[in-house]
């Protein structure tokens, strides 16, 4: 059973999509049930996985099969593998993905036109996301990574808001640009790396784990750590690090390549915003932790300060933009940019605390931001208006809604007791400690990053005050009777998230326990290997 659990996780949505393809599009209800059944099966699989996962067991639930092999004569053998596995980095994200996809389905239960196409695309997207988080073969990862683009493009472009065409194309072009940069380095890596377990002939594989070991690089190849080529001012490995980092930073997104995100979020339908913010952004962070840093530890040490700086700029600049946003969804989108900056800062610190904090931040942000976008969707469903200035005193008409908004806002600004706090405090610990272990992040950067908390508090509290308190008043074209409190379906989708952020804020150990062994190994490995490679090239 263990050997096929991950494949099952991937194929269930794909199979559901295939079944849905043959059902006439008029039978709207059936699609919803197909999707919810697929999601429930995934939850079941996740529970089995969580039950069987051993925190100290390293890579687990591994599936290792041949995908294709090409005999290239004298040049060697090209081997692509179907290689899946879970560890402390991917398990929290897979868990998050399963949860968020379920909630995304519930949130689009009744609000979507042209149900068939929508759910089929959502299911394909689901497979691609799960695949990205579990694949350990670079080619396989890249396949899933790219395969997210098309469904997402159509989901935004067909079910989005007024400027959806602009937003969807922008999203597609930005992300494709990033993935081409990744592709360039991927080709170089597979040329330069051989599989050590195969004796005799040279076997070029895409195995990410092999790429992290400096001894597996073929001597004389461009990316060989012992003798990297110089291209201009940097050597080839440093270029490769920068290209990969930029590729994933676009997805993350980090300032200054973040501009696709506010547009995409504002135009996307609620459920798609949730998936985009909670899961797709995480693949950027995941890629940095899984691929960029471990494969190029020398680059991570050399450019760590730069990664940290980009993180801090994202924290501050994203926060300031959020403060200036007039649209509620745009505000949340910029707050995401700000929060993903913490992930970068945590990773760049190369300390156990920082890395664990970064991963925890990805998990926690996934929960909190889902909740925020769902809450923005709730008010948009009622009034078709997201302009902050058009509301005041909503707490009088919508008390429960307001309570949940307060929870989400406080969680997002990192108040103690919520999961965001745990994540951010760990990132700060790591960032301040980094200097003392000769890590790349300086204390100045760490101090500046704390400003992010104050900015976060400012825009959230200010929004609370403007929209929810004071006398009840609606501007714009909205009638007062359109505003009513939460429905049953909305409770179902919001309450679990609220409980989750509180629970993981008070008792983070279940997740920390999973993350910690990975973070510890990651931080030590990257710092030591990076320094070794830099000192003795």
């Amino acid at each position: 059973m263990q050997e096929i659990l991950l494949s099952l996780l991937l194929t269930v949505p794909l199979a559901a999509a295939f079944i849905a393809l043959f059902i006439p599009s008029t039978m709207v209800k059936i699609f919803r049930y197909i999707v919810i059944i697929a999601n429930s099966i995934q939850v079941g699989i996740l529970l089995i996985i969580l039950n069987g996962y051993k925190a100290l067991g390293g890579l687990q639930f591994v599936e290792h099969r041949q995908w294709f092999t090409l005999d290239l004569g004298a040049w060697g053998i090209l081997k692509a593998e179907y290689f899946l596995g879970l560890d402390g980095l991917s398990l929290p994200l897979v868990a998050l993905a399963v949860l968020v996809m379920l909630i995304a389905t519930i949130s689009s239960w009744t609000t979507v036109k042209n149900t068939k196409g929508y759910y089929i695309l959502l299911l394909i997207l689901n497979t691609a996301i799960m695949g990205s988080f579990t694949a350990l073969d670079f080619l396989l990862f890249y396949l899933f990574f790219e395969f997210m683009l098309l469904p997402m493009f159509f989901l935004i472009a067909l079910w989005g808001g007024p400027r959806r065409e602009y937003a969807s194309i922008k999203f597609f072009l930005y992300t494709l640009f990033g993935s081409i940069l990744i592709l360039i380095v991927m080709i170089g890596l597979y040329i330069s790396v051989h599989n050590p377990s195969e004796s005799g002939r040279l076997v070029h594989s895409f195995n990410v784990l092999h790429m992290t070991d400096a001894t597996n690089f073929i001597s004389g190849s461009i990316l060989d750590p012992n003798n990297p080529w110089m291209i201009g001012i940097y050597n080839a490995r440093q270029w490769a690090f920068l290209l990969l980092f930029l590729g994933f930073a676009i997805k993350l997104p980090a300032v200054p390549v973040h501009t696709w995100l506010p547009d995409a979020h504002v135009e996307a339908p609620t459920a798609i915003s949730v998936v985009l913010a909670a899961l797709l952004l995480k693949i950027g962070g995941y890629g940095i932790a899984r691929i960029v840093f471990p494969i190029f530890p020398d680059g991570a040490v050399h450019f760590g300060w730069f990664v940290g700086l980009v993180g801090v700029i994202s924290i501050i600049y994203g926060g300031l933009n959020a403060m200036a946003s007039k649209d509620l969804k745009r505000l949340i989108a910029y707050s995401s940019v700000s929060h993903m900056g913490f992930v970068l800062l945590g990773f760049a610190s190369l300390t156990t605390e920082g890395v664990a904090g970064g991963i925890y931040q990805m998990f926690s942000h996934g929960i909190i931001t889902s909740m925020l976008f769902l809450l923005a969707g709730v008010i948009y469903d009622r009034t078709s208006d997201r302009t902050i200035a058009n509301y005041s005193g909503l707490s009088i008409k919508m008390p429960v809604y307001t309570a949940l908004v307060v929870v989400a806002f406080f969680a997002s600004m990192g108040l103690p007791g919520f999961s965001g706090f745990i994540a951010e405090i760990m990132v700060f610990l790591g960032a301040f400690k980094s200097g003392s272990i000769q890590g790349p992040v300086t204390e100045t950067l760490a101090i500046i990053s704390t400003l992010g908390l104050i900015i976060g508090a400012t825009y959230y509290l200010w929004t609370l005050q403007r929209m929810f308190f004071g006398p009840f008043n609606l501007k714009g074209n909205t009638a007062t009777d359109q505003v009513y409190d939460l429905t049953q379906r909305e409770y179902v989708m919001l309450l679990p998230l609220a409980v989750a952020t509180l629970f993981f804020g008070i008792y983070p150990q279940p997740i920390i326990g999973i993350i910690d062994p990975f973070a510890k190994h990651f931080a030590e490995f990257v710092l030591n290997a990076g320094k070794n490679l830099t000192l003795n090239p």
């Binding site: 092999t69 090409l70 005999d71 790219e146 067909l158 065409e165 640009f177 592709l183 170089g188 461009i222």
Partner: protein, 493 residues
């Protein structure tokens, strides 16, 4: 002087390896002859035109073990080997597809027997070109391909068709003249017409001069012209716009691949295993970069699907040339893989463009909103477009991955920075190409618009399209199917 009996013997020996070409030339004559009778229906003509390339294909496959052994026939004028045999299979399959695309619209073509016979003649020329090792033979077969193509470009007998055909003819004859001029210099330098002999390479290496460089580039101009590589691409948008869809699909594959084949052999000969003092890698890389960028940037503004695909095919020529630029066996193998995938995707797209055109959709704008009515055809077209862009999960991605990995490898071997530029530039062009490749699906699915089309999913086009899509996807999930075969091909001159 060879004795008559000796040369007769030589010819008799060569005939054995020449059966596919004999079938084709017989087919040309048969179609002309059959067309003289009034009683012959279009269906019978189509049937004959279908059977001939299939027969040729079957003969090649049946004699693969024999044909794949390199052998010189007809006194060294031609050479049979696995490289040319593979390409000939590709040509024959393309011809079968072209006839299939014509089949449902055979009654629209007034001169069907001539139409088919010229297609077969071009196919015959392409076969010869893939096997040519002799400058005279190269010229003859290139002209056979070209003259047939001039006729086919004007086969719609419209004003536009005549214009396109005439432009094609003028450009083509200039390019041929240049090529011939180049050949004459090469002959003067080397004293041999057979460019595969060591004598040719030896003389080239000894007599290095600027004139030789100019002569070689002039000789190559004819091939660049056939391939539609920049800067000799100017004819292709006009010709594509004027010709009927099956012919465009045919043009975008058969003459182009024949040009690529001869370009491969010729540049391998000139490069002389890297000993040549002229940096052919550099020159070809420049041409590839030019073609990719000219094709992609010009395609961005196109409103006519035919012109759009014309510019796309210019850019794709650039990508195909990446395989030659690598100057390695891997590069050539990957190029053949790329060519096969490109052939599938192009026929997929043109098959649908033809049926859309029949419904009145002849500009990109006119596709607005048809995606809801024509969901299946549009989705399959989208897959074709993604294949040409090179995104997973289509074999277009696999092909790009392969061909650029051979380039990276070449860079690692030589350290020439132009190769790195080609790599980065070529791949980043994918982002630009996405913009226009997606334009038709974009209008169809995302732009609103009312259509009163009647739809029928059970059409020949859909069956044909589905088969091509299955092949495209299959080659992504299991590229071994084709690569296992291509990898055995040798590249010794």
């Amino acid at each position: 002087m060879t004795d008559l009996s000796v040369s007769l013997e030589e010819i008799a020996k060569g005939i054995n390896s020449f059966i596919p070409e004999l079938i084709l030339s017989g087919g040309v004559l048969l179609l002309i002859f059959v067309g003289l009778f009034k009683k012959v229906t279009p269906s019978m003509l189509t049937f004959v035109a279908l059977v001939v390339p299939v027969l040729s294909l079957l003969v090649i496959v049946a004699n693969w073990s024999e044909l794949s052994v390199p052998a010189r026939i007809f006194n060294g004028f031609l050479r049979t080997d696995d490289f040319s045999s593979y390409l000939k299979i590709l040509f024959d399959v393309s011809c079968v597809f072209t006839v299939l695309m014509t089949w449902r619209r055979q009654n629209e073509q007034q001169r069907l027997s001539e139409y088919y016979s010229v297609i077969l003649a071009v196919l015959f020329g392409a076969h010869l070109l893939a096997m040519s090792m002799n400058l005279i033979m190269v010229f003859i077969s290139l002209e056979l391909v070209s003259i047939g193509s001039y006729i086919l470009a004007g086969v719609s007998f419209s004003r536009k068709g005549s214009e396109g055909s005439f432009k094609y003819f003028l450009f083509g004859s200039t390019a041929s003249a240049m090529m011939l001029y180049g050949f004459s210099f090469l002959y003067g330098y080397t004293g041999t017409l057979d460019f595969s002999t060591p004598a040719f390479a030896g003389e080239i290496l000894e007599n290095h001069s600027t004139l030789l460089l100019i002569a070689s580039i002039m000789a190559m101009a004819g091939f660049f012209y056939k391939v539609a590589a920049a800067p000799l691409h100017l004819w292709s948008p006009d010709v594509y716009e004027a010709a009927p869809f099956p012919i465009i699909a045919f043009f975008s594959v058969v003459p182009k691949m024949a040009g690529i084949a001869i370009l491969t052999r010729f540049s391998l000969a000139l490069n002389a295993f890297g000993q040549s003092p002229i940096d052919w890698q550099f020159i070809l890389a420049i041409i590839a970069i030019l073609s990719i960028s000219v094709g992609n940037f010009s395609a961005l503004g196109q409103k006519n699907p035919k012109r759009l695909m014309a510019y796309s095919s210019i850019a794709q020529s650039g990508f195909l040339m990446v395989g030659i630029v690598a100057f390695s066996a891997n590069g050539m193998h990957y190029m053949l893989f790329y060519a096969s995938v490109y052939m599938l995707a192009n026929f997929l797209i043109f098959n649908y463009l033809q049926s859309f055109d029949a419904m009145g959709m002849d500009t990109v704008l006119s596709f607005s909103g048809v995606g809801r009515k024509l969901a299946w055809p549009m989705v399959l077209t989208l897959i074709g477009m993604i294949t040409l862009t090179g995104l997973p999960p289509t074999s277009g991605f696999t092909a790009k991955l392969f061909i650029f990995s051979s380039l990276w490898e070449a860079y690692q071997l030589t350290g020439k920075s132009i190769l790195l530029w080609l790599l980065v530039f070529g791949l980043l062009n994918t982002v630009i190409s996405l913009f226009y490749y997606l334009s038709i699906p974009y209008y169809a699915f995302i732009k609103g618009g009312e259509t009163d089309l009647k739809t029928n999913n059970l059409t020949f086009e859909n069956l044909f399209g589905l088969l091509l899509v299955v092949a495209i996807l299959l080659l992504f999930f299991n590229p071994e199917l084709l690569m296992g075969w291509i990898n055995k091909i040798n590249f010794v001159l």
